[in-house]
């Protein structure tokens, strides 16, 4: 067995891949949110942000391909872990109670994950893979969020994202071995805080646009 596949293919190795890709997505979420906030600056500010982003050219393509690769790793590894865990307990308990360890986030990771995957595909089809020749990104966004259905889908997805992140963030620290009595309480608090920021930060944008229209 090759040492790289041996190490990464183990249960801890798979978790490491989940953690590293997960950390990157947290970074991406933070950057994406920061960019989106320009929408509060109005149409020009938002279109300007989009133009700046596209001016990055090849750098942007590299980032996109990187995110795509990480997404594939995260989804495929997550699915493997999920199926492996189902197999590890073929007979379920008739009565099953939590001892208080699990959280809403930890207990729903695979499900919020699936919601997010479906949402990301939907989101990219709406705002990324569209013809932007005769319009601006602000118009596309404003148009989409004048529709209540879209607003609802986005809010549900952002709640799922917040729940996913609330476990994922601190869990990634634990996985890479960074559990230290001095810092762990902070990681757990930041995890919740970050979840709230993601949920409200992204979740309020569609509502704002909807109200504006």
């Amino acid at each position: 067995m090759n040492w790289i596949t041996g190490t990464l293919g183990s249960s801890i190795g798979k978790k490491l891949m989940m953690a590293i890709t997960g950390f990157s997505f947290c970074g991406f979420l933070a950057a994406h949110l920061a960019g989106n906030l320009t929408i509060y600056g109005g149409k020009e500010a938002f279109n300007g942000y989009a133009a700046h982003l596209h001016a990055l050219g090849p750098l942007l393509t590299v980032a996109e391909l990187g995110l795509l690769t990480f997404a594939l790793v995260h989804v495929i590894t997550g699915l493997t872990l999920f199926l492996g865990n189902l197999k590890a307990r073929p007979v379920r308990y008739a009565v099953n109670k939590s001892a208080g360890g699990r959280t809403v986030g930890s207990a729903t990771m695979p499900y919020t994950g699936v919601i997010l995957l479906a949402f990301i595909i939907f989101h990219l089809m709406n705002f990324h893979f569209v013809d932007k020749t005769d319009t601006t990104i602000f118009n596309i966004v404003a148009n989409a969020f004048s529709n209540t259905g879209y607003v609802l889908v986005y809010i549900v997805a952002m709640v799922a994202a917040a729940i996913h992140v609330s476990h994922g963030f601190w869990s990634a620290f634990q996985t890479v071995g960074a559990n230290h009595p001095k810092y762990m309480p902070l990681f757990r608090t930041v995890s919740i805080a970050f979840a709230v920021v993601v949920g409200i930060g992204f979740g309020f944008l569609p509502i704002y646009i909807f109200l504006l229209a």
Binding site: G6, N85, K87, A94, V95, K97, A107, N179
Partner: protein, 254 residues
């Protein structure tokens, strides 16, 4: 006068690993609240024996919370709902007259049911055999204080060494993962100087064996820590992750 209670038990009965198994209902009457959970089962078994029926099989040995042989899932909780308690140390005073109690074996692919509530936990022994030891040379014994160990580190190692290998962590883990057990066994040695020479090989081999035995993957649900009768901390799991990744990426061991 000791207080007594009457209970209804729904107990998992399974003749052997091939049998499908089912729940049977029993009545436990005049149970002293000073009894342990296992003593309560003894009373039920006495009656079953008198009635010419097959007594309920369950594992036990020391009955003082130190051997790790006992353990069932009681009303959905491994070793019952009391914190930091093995099943043999769970007393009937925590139950009320008229309660219905569901009793199931620890469930995991890696723990096959032998009979009723007794499960085969030799998978945990196999993890130990893969590296949960230190090699000691024979010869003149060296001075006991030759190798210095800071008190704090010794305490951490002793905390990890409290693990009695009961398997409740596996039973309570939503993923049936054995990470808390394995992490305790790796930590108790990795923390001490005597464990350092074999640390890399130990981490790699124990995790590899754990994976091969069909335990699930840890997703940091932390149910194990909450349920462990010896209150082993998940900081040990973080240490195992460090030990394993360090060994996998930086040591010469394969």
């Amino acid at each position: 006068m000791t207080k007594t209670i009457n209970l209804t038990l729904k107990v998992w009965r399974q003749k052997g690993s091939k049998d499908k198994g089912r729940f049977d209902t029993y009545h436990a009457e005049n149970i002293s609240t000073d009894m342990s959970f296992l003593e309560m089962l003894d009373v039920v078994n006495d009656q079953l024996t008198i009635d010419g029926k097959e007594p309920i099989a369950f594992d036990h040995d020391c009955r003082e919370g130190i051997c790790g042989m006992c353990g069932c899932v009681v009303n959905g909780r491994a070793h019952g709902a009391e914190k930091g308690t093995t099943l043999c140390q769970l007393h009937m005073r925590h139950f009320n007259n008229g309660d219905t109690i569901a009793i199931e074996p620890f469930r995991a692919m890696a723990f096959k049911v032998i009979k009723d509530l007794a499960v085969d936990r030799s998978a945990l022994d196999k993890i130990i055999q893969a590296g949960g030891y230190v090699s000691v040379n024979t010869g003149g014994a060296q001075d006991a204080n030759a190798i210095l160990v800071p008190q704090e580190v010794a305490d951490l190692a002793m905390d990890a060494a409290q693990c009695i290998g009961c398997g409740a962590c596996v039973a309570s883990c939503p993923n049936a993962s054995a990470m808390l057990f394995t992490s305790a066994k790796v930590s108790q040695l990795a923390l001490l100087p005597q464990g350092k020479p074999e640390a890399a090989k130990r981490a790699l081999n124990m995790v590899r064996t754990m994976d091969e035995l069909g335990f699930g993957n840890c997703t940091n649900e932390t149910e194990c820590e909450a349920e462990c009768p010896k209150e082993i901390s998940i900081t040990n799991i973080a240490r195992l992750n460090r030990e394993y990744l360090k060994a996998g990426f930086f040591s010469r061991s394969m």
